[in-house]
């Protein structure tokens, strides 16, 4: 089988859970989707029928998602901790249909796209406001580091100046929403450092 065709088909199988399922469970439709010649079908059929190949393929698909999950957790650690099982379950759902991003900032873009997916989930919206705002702040901070823009401003109802002290003392963080915060991210030029400031609004 020609190397080019093999790589193109494998790339789709590795990154798209629906196509992987077709290969495992519906060979005729898989063969039709890629318009496989007899030689190509002979080369790829073992992946579909050999029990060893099938389990290897499932393991590989899982490993790819797990690798992305680890990278995204590292970039959004607060969201991962506060979101808990919802974060993990939602990531699996997101990643099985969203292929990885290309380029050197692929994990950062993956994290931002996943955050948008998560923020649209009803269960996420039922979290206390201070938690949602803290996580929005985390994603906005990541965005500011990755996407070149000179100025970014966000207004929060939570006081990010007081929140760390509330969390340390174990007091109910809900109370910190009485004081709002304005957060600015400024990078005057790509070669200049990013400056983030939290402005308490009282």
């Amino acid at each position: 089988m020609e190397l080019n065709r093999l790589q193109q088909i494998l790339a789709r199988v590795y990154t798209d859970a629906a196509i992987r399922r077709l290969l495992l469970d519906d060979w005729p439709r898989f063969a039709e989707l890629f318009d496989l010649s007899a030689v190509e079908a002979d080369a790829l059929r073992p992946l579909s029928i050999s029990p060893r190949c099938r389990s290897q393929l499932i393991d590989f698909g899982d490993a790819l998602i797990s690798k992305r999950w680890h990278a995204v957790r590292a970039l959004l650690p607060k969201s991962a901790t506060i979101g808990g099982a919802l974060f993990d379950e939602s990531f699996r759902q997101y990643a099985s249909s969203a292929p990885p991003f290309p380029g050197v900032h692929k994990h950062q873009h993956d994290a931002l796209a996943f955050f948008a997916h998560l923020a649209a989930d009803d269960r996420w919206r039922s979290l206390p406001r201070w938690q949602r705002e803290l996580l929005d702040f985390e994603a906005a901070d990541l965005h500011a580091r990755v996407v070149p823009r000179r100025l970014r401003i966000r207004l929060y109802l939570t006081s990010f100046v007081e929140l760390p002290a509330f969390l340390r003392s174990g007091r109910a963080p809900e109370n910190v929403r009485e004081k709002r915060s304005l957060v600015t991210w400024i990078r005057l030029a790509p070669s200049r450092p990013l400056k983030r400031r939290i402005w308490p609004l009282g």
Partner: protein, 308 residues
């Protein structure tokens, strides 16, 4: 009939006749292994332990940096790179050239990587024997290549393209694979040995990847070592591996297993390696514990006469 190393080299030499950007000089990307400096034992740099590393820098002989982290980098990353360059010898480790891909390296990525390598001036740099893109899809992982003649030709063609713009010695790393692709024409060791000879590259032998592949695919790691051209083994990677169900996985998150220490010692005794890197990516203990692993690896190299 199985092609010989000479046939492989002839095929690559034909590709080599394309014009080079360094005035037709023999590119120094082919510097003989014996001429490379001995670096000792270091660690793959991760920002997570940056603070502790600076405090214990004397326990680290050199650093491997993930090249991709410094391409298209913001000011913070560039400042970090400048700091590291002032303290350590750096060896860039690239992830996304897709050296085995039929589409070849992405020109923008290659250009940025070349600029980084020119800036860092490493004794060598490394990439993987894998493909990461095909048909416009980015796989986000080092996907294994089928061990075929066509894959060897593709690797050689891409390596020559890369050498036209990056004039530092390239060493190639063996990856783990979960799926044993059905179109295999030769075993892993033959594939890698022929690739090294044909492309005239060094090997970054990931000892942990070798251990994992040997266990998962039922071959003997020492048979694999027997097939390698000793003078081409330049650098090593090592880290712990973990068993998940019936499979070993390269989680890069565990202390080095006793069996991997044994294999690392065997590799150090057999090959004139110039450096070894602990490649830990997650689940970091205190840096002192990592430094202990570096010291154990350094002692293995010392016993084997690789460094003093």
């Amino acid at each position: 009939m199985r092609p010989s190393a000479r046939d492989d080299r002839a095929r690559c030499a034909a590709l080599d006749r394309e014009p080079t950007t360094n005035g037709g000089r023999r590119p120094d990307s082919r510097v003989a292994q014996a001429e490379l400096p001995t670096l000792g034992v270091g660690i793959g740099y991760r920002s997570a332990f940056a603070g502790e590393l600076l405090l214990q820098q004397k326990r680290v002989d050199f650093l491997e940096i993930v090249a991709d982290h410094y391409l298209d980098a913001n000011a913070e990353r560039r400042a970090e790179l400048a700091r590291l360059r002032g303290l350590f010898t750096l060896v860039p480790h690239a992830l996304d050239l897709s050296l085995g891909g039929v589409e070849g390296p992405d020109p923008r990525y290659l250009e940025q990587l070349a600029a980084l390598i020119e800036l860092v001036e490493p004794p060598w740099w490394s990439e993987h024997i894998a493909f990461t893109r095909a048909g416009g899809v980015s796989i986000g992982h080092l996907a294994p290549l089928p061990c075929t003649n066509a894959a060897l030709d593709q690797l050689c063609a891409n390596i020559e393209r890369v050498r036209a713009v990056i004039h530092r010695p390239l060493v190639l790393e063996n990856v783990t694979y979960v799926i044993d692709l059905p179109s295999r024409e030769m075993d892993d060791a033959t594939f890698i040995a022929r690739l090294l000879e044909a492309s005239d590259c060094g090997l970054l032998l990931d000892v942990t990847n070798l251990f994992i592949n040997a266990r998962n695919h039922g071959f003997d790691a020492t048979d694999f070592l027997d097939a390698l051209p000793p003078e081409r083994v330049v650098q090593l990677h090592f880290v712990g591996a973990k068993r998940r169900g019936s499979q070993w996985v390269d989680s890069h998150a565990d202390p080095v297993n006793e069996e991997i220490w044994q294999l690392l010692g065997e590799v150090m005794r057999r090959f004139p390696v110039k450096g070894a890197i602990l490649e830990r990516d997650a689940n970091w203990p205190r840096f002192a514990e990592l430094a202990g692993e570096l010291e154990r690896a350094r002692a293995l190299g010392r016993e084997a006469g690789r460094w003093s």
